[in-house]
């Protein structure tokens, strides 16, 4: 029941966003605030883990085990320009380095595209784990 109410609240919140967004080019910040207030403040452990792991991941090759889409998205948000999320997801070392050297960017388009595909495939990011391709999508 709790989950149902929560989902309903989220969907309603997003519906508000859509209605508002289609009506104009502005957004009601109170609705954003309400949505954030309805959320559970995530434990910092996952974020801390992601940020603390970032340097190590930058030099490590792909490690075994399942990858958390949320960690990948957070890394993409904050360190996407450095390709850290690619190292986290696992890729060939040279691919990762090539990515950093050529297609990174703090607010570059590549992290944005990666972010979109990770968000779209949030429930199953297996296609991007240990993906040796230069463009993972």
């Amino acid at each position: 029941m709790k989950k149902l109410l929560f989902t309903l609240a989220v969907v309603t919140g997003l519906a508000f966003f859509s209605i508002e967004a289609s009506a104009s080019y502005t957004i009601d910040d109170n609705q954003v605030e309400a949505l954030f207030n309805s959320a559970n403040e995530a434990s910092f452990s996952i974020m801390t883990e992601a940020m603390d792991m970032a340097p190590a991941m930058a030099i490590a090759s792909a490690s075994e085990g399942s990858k958390d889409a949320l960690v990948a998205i957070l890394l993409d948000f904050f360190l996407g320009g450095l390709g850290i999320h690619r190292f986290y997801l696992g890729t060939e070392v040279m691919t990762g380095i090539g990515y950093i050297l050529t297609c990174g960017g703090i607010f570059g388009i590549m992290p944005l595209v990666d972010l979109i595909v990770l968000a779209i495939n949030f429930d199953d990011i297996s296609a991007y784990v240990n993906n040796p391709k230069f463009f993972m999508w």
């Binding site: 966003f17 940020m51 340097p55 979109i116």
Partner: protein, 237 residues
């Protein structure tokens, strides 16, 4: 004094302020930043302070929560990330993505006409007015698969909305720039909310809020004066 000289001085006085304003901002700007990311009912909050130095073009970010680290980036794309707790430092260089790729750079220097899209290879396709709004449409360069078009909306010469669309015109991402802070030389949105759509009923919402915006030629802020110890562990990217 001949009339010609009077006219010359007159035009000089008129034109000088415009010349000064058209140059990049040479002072310093510091802001406190709160990043909030909402995804699947969970909210992540990250706090940082950022210093932009107009004389060098470098940007220093001091992330304080949930974990502390520093990130500096200059116009050449030389990036340093330093984790004081772990005493680890990494260096990287990418000439295509320097501090002039940062959003703060565009706003502080009034380069808001395309918010960096042109630099990313986007080509302007259309420009029109819609009531009080001025709208430009940009076509993505080949190879950027999911994104096909970006729509930028301006009000009073300031960007207020950006929409990334796929080939079918479906919105992939919407960005709202609002609650502008007007400084002497530039305007900066105090809030930027991004909604990335992943499916019909799901999205990621990120809001970046700037506060305590300080500007000045001689702005000193001890928060950004950090030294990387000589014994820091270097991580090669």
């Amino acid at each position: 004094m001949p009339v010609r000289n009077h006219l010359f001085i007159f035009f000089l006085i008129i034109c000088l302020p415009f010349t000064i304003n058209s140059q990049a901002y040479k002072g310093k700007v510091s802001v406190n930043t709160t990043h909030q990311i909402y995804k699947k009912g969970q909210l992540f909050t990250v706090l940082s302070t950022t210093l932009y130095d107009g004389s060098t073009g470098s940007i220093t970010c001091h992330y304080t929560s949930p974990t502390e680290f520093y990130k500096t980036i200059n116009t050449k794309g030389e990036t340093t990330i330093y984790f004081p707790k772990r005493n680890e430092v990494s260096f990287s260089q990418n000439s295509q993505y320097g501090s002039d790729s940062e959003l703060l750079y565009y706003f502080v220097n009034n380069f808001t006409q395309n918010l960096g899209l042109e630099k990313e290879g986007f080509i302007r396709n259309e420009a029109k007015t819609e009531g009080k709004y001025y709208i430009t449409t940009w076509l993505a360069p080949p190879g950027v698969k999911p994104v096909h078009t970006v729509k930028l909306v301006f009000e009073n010469f300031l960007p207020i909305y950006a929409e990334y669309q796929d080939l079918s015109g479906k919105a992939l991402k919407k960005i709202y720039y609002y609650e502008y802070h007007h400084a002497n030389y530039f305007s900066l949105p105090k809030k930027i909310t991004e909604i990335s759509y992943s499916s019909e009923n799901d999205s990621t919402v990120k809001r970046t809020s700037f506060s305590n915006i300080q500007t000045g030629m001689y702005l000193e802020d001890a928060r950004f004066n950090f030294q990387i110890p000589e014994d820091a562990i270097k991580l090669d990217l």
